[in-house]
């Protein structure tokens, strides 16, 4: 069975500081991994995805993520956080027919 764990329920960072959101997955074959962002009361928007090739993937809004097979991780990073990045972030693994999402990490940005 596939699963995703996001260990941090809530993270607070200062504007301009770096950010790393953790994601660990469990999947029996080659994982297809995604990060989505959700603003309050809205649907989810794709930030980036990984399914093969370079293990460091670039996404929108200056985000990147690194796939580490040995650690079963797909952590999301941003070198300098902006106030507009405050939102909820979801990691997901996609199997043959459906995706499994983590419980999400809420990001608060301090001025």
């Amino acid at each position: 069975a596939q699963s995703v764990t996001q260990p941090d329920i809530h993270i607070t960072v200062s504007e301009g500081a770096s950010l790393e959101l953790r994601c660990n997955y469990s999947y029996g074959a080659t994982p297809y991994l995604f990060w989505y962002v959700q603003s309050p009361g809205q649907g989810l928007q794709l930030l980036l995805k990984y399914f093969s090739g370079d293990t460091l993937v670039q996404g929108i809004k200056g985000f990147e993520a690194e796939f580490k097979r040995s650690q079963s991780s797909f952590n999301l990073r941003k070198p300098s956080v902006h106030w507009s990045d405050a939102a909820e972030y979801f990691c997901a693994v996609k199997g043959a027919s459906k995706s499994t999402f983590g419980d999400g990490t809420t990001l608060t940005v301090k001025p």
Binding site: F34, G43, L44, F51, F90, T100, F101, D103, G104
Partner: protein, 114 residues
């Protein structure tokens, strides 16, 4: 371009009343369709998914049901709502065929059961 619509945007219903949420996708054909529920402070729980007209897979036992009467229409229903049905309901689609395709989400429906 493709778009996904959900309605209503918000809904307040009494316990025991019926429910019908609608989701439609434009600009694509034969999409995979999904219904998720997001409880307050929780992640996304997959409720149903469909790979074609009339083909519905249920992920969790509950008092909800789903139907796909047309290729790009996905409906979530209940005959009698429970308090625990309150939440944020999201519809999503993907093109199917390839696993590397991401899902595209609708704006959601906020359901409050009183």
């Amino acid at each position: 371009s493709q778009t996904i619509h959900q309605w209503p945007a918000t809904l307040v219903q009494p316990v025991g009343s019926p429910l019908s949420l609608e989701c439609t996708v434009e600009g694509t054909s034969n999409p995979n369709l999904y219904w998720y529920r997001q409880a307050a402070g929780r992640g996304l729980q997959l409720l149903f998914y469909s790979v074609g007209i009339g083909q519905i897979s249920s992920e969790v036992p509950q008092n909800l049901s789903a139907s796909r009467p047309q290729d790009r229409q996905f409906i979530l229903s209940s005959k009698k709502l429970l308090l625990s049905d309150s939440g944020f309901y999201l519809c999503a689609w993907d093109p199917g065929l390839e696993r590397n395709n991401e899902q595209f989400f609708g704006p959601g429906t906020r359901l409050t059961v009183l």
